[in-house]
């Protein structure tokens, strides 16, 4: 079973993702801030990470940068799921640390998220 780590500081959002991930046959893990998320990622080596940007203790961009410094972490696919409107600068920064993707939370339904995960895991397994 593929492991997916959800890093988000909003309870409702975590709960929602955990349910859809479970229902779609994934093993979900979660963390409620960036620092905890980074630690869990490095310890559990999930197959994919959902990462929020605005979070207490450590923000999402710092988590992403630190992940990419790790030998395992530099190749794990990361989906930035945020409600922040990122500017061009941030988008280009996200793209620099591939494989990462940017999605706006409000614009995507849970089903579309599952489709996106399947698509990404297929690419990464090639």
């Amino acid at each position: 079973m593929k492991k997916i780590l959800v890093v988000d500081d909003d309870n409702n959002i975590i709960k929602m993702y955990l349910i859809i991930l479970k229902n779609s046959g994934y093993e979900p893990l979660y963390a409620i801030n960036g620092k905890q998320g980074l630690e869990m990622a490095l310890q559990n080596h999930p197959d994919l990470i959902f990462l929020d940007l605005a979070m207490p203790v450590m923000d999402g961009m710092t988590v992403l940068k630190k992940l990419r410094e790790d030998t395992w972490g530099k190749n794990v696919p990361v989906i930035i799921l945020t409600n922040y409107d990122t500017d061009d600068k941030l988008i280009s920064e996200i793209q620099k640390t591939k494989p990462s993707y940017y999605l706006l939370k409000t614009n995507i339904t849970p089903n579309e998220i599952i489709n996106k995960i399947e698509e990404l895991l297929k690419i990464e397994n090639k």
Binding site: D10, I13, Y84, D85, K105, T106, T109, P110
Partner: protein
């Protein structure tokens, strides 16, 4: 009477009166020689820059300036020295004891028999005003972000319930759940519009300009709107030639169309919507696009308010207001940003309305100017980062 007027006039044009007026003016005023060396500075100069006149006479405004990119000053000098035209714009300067401020600045060449003999520069300190503007748009941006998070959960959970993620749902529940889903979508739309307004007002909205066939885009949009128009029994029809090539941001043009046709569909209960286009004689660089409906029309009093921010025309005639009151405001701003405009062509109560907007045709002088304008704005933005 005439005698008195002559007397006053004599006092006013008297040198000392002029000097007193300039000296005591609320605006910062400096007079320089053709090289920009300061000959005179009024009282307000000290108030804004904190420099005493004796500290700056004989020097240039760079004493408190020099905070903008080099390219900016080059352009400024080109305008006032070579083109001999006045410059007007917002400039970041620095006060004597540190602290930047933003000045609304006008510099005009002083010409004598067409020979440049100096400049007159005025400044208005608009720092506070700018800070308030920024706070306002920061507030909108933060509030919108905070609103989006719970909305994501509401929308997500409802769509999961409807998809059967929590088990089969009772048929009685499906309909009210769909209503909640629609309401959540409307709220998300409103929040996105609020963010769009703050983006445009901050100059942060990005425009990707391309050369494309407006006719093709129009047909595409009509096709996408077909399910709604069919449901409302309204025919969307194209009249005359529409295969114009324009130079604009395709997605933004799509937004304008969606807004105008969407409004027409919303307020027309029958009949048809006609889309037509034409070139006009007075400005050959533009194509005019018209969207005509046979809807309820807009009363003259309401026509004035149509393009105001958050304006909703809401009277018994129109029924319950719908939407955010931002659609036309945003569309007009977008059209203007792309060197066009958007307006109400005509409207008559119970007969219908015609809205028009214009876009630059590709390959025209206007389209080239637009390209340069957007590029220079993007450059300025990256400079400020």
């Amino acid at each position: 009477m005439k005698k008195k007027f002559k007397k006053i006039r004599k006092i006013i044009i008297d040198d000392s009166m002029f000097k007193m007026a300039v000296e005591n003016a609320f605006n910062h005023i400096i007079i320089t020689d053709p090289e920009g060396k300061i000959i005179y500075a009024n009282k307000a100069v000290k108030k804004i820059t904190h420099y005493k006149p004796e500290e700056i006479i004989g020097k240039t405004a760079a004493v408190w300036g020099n905070q903008m990119p080099k390219e900016f000053y080059k352009k400024l000098w080109r305008k006032i020295k070579i083109e001999k035209r006045p410059f007007s714009g917002e400039i970041i300067n620095r006060r004597k004891n540190d602290g930047q401020y933003i000045a609304k600045t006008v510099i005009s060449p002083i010409l004598r028999h067409n020979k440049l003999i100096g400049y007159i520069g005025t400044e208005d300190d608009i720092t506070k005003q700018k800070q308030i503007d920024k706070m306002k748009s920061d507030f909108i941006s933060i509030a919108s972000h905070e609103l989006r998070t719970p909305l994501t959960a509401i929308k997500g959970f409802i769509s999961m319930i409807l998809d059967g993620d929590f088990g089969q749902i009772n048929n009685n529940l499906a309909s009210p759940l769909k209503d909640i889903e629609q309401a959540a979508d409307k709220l998300i739309g409103l929040v996105n519009n609020l963010l769009n307004v703050s983006r445009i007002e901050n100059g942060r909205m990005k425009f990707i300009l391309t050369d494309f066939d407006l006719g093709q885009l129009t047909k595409e949009i009509i096709k996408l709107l077909e399910p709604i128009s069919k449901q409302r029994k309204i025919l969307i029809k194209i009249e005359g030639r529409i295969d114009y090539r324009v130079f604009a941001d395709k997605e933004k043009v799509r937004e304008i169309f969606n807004n105008l046709i969407g409004n027409a569909l919303k307020f027309a209960n029958h009949g048809k919507i006609t889309i037509s286009m034409k070139k006009i004689k007075t400005d050959k660089d533009l194509v005019f696009i018209y969207i005509k409906d046979a809807g309820i029309g807009i009363a003259p009093d309401d026509q004035q308010k149509l393009f105001n921010k958050f304006q909703q025309v809401s009277t018994q005639q129109y029924g319950k207001p719908q939407g955010s009151g931002l659609g036309l405001y945003i569309s007009k701003l977008i059209a203007k940003k792309m060197s066009g405009d958007l307006w109400l062509e005509r409207s008559e109560v119970n007969k219908g309305s015609t809205f028009g907007f214009s876009l630059p045709l590709s390959g025209t002088l206007r389209s080239i100017k637009l390209k340069l304008q957007i590029k220079s704005e993007a450059d300025q933005h990256s400079d400020q980062k």
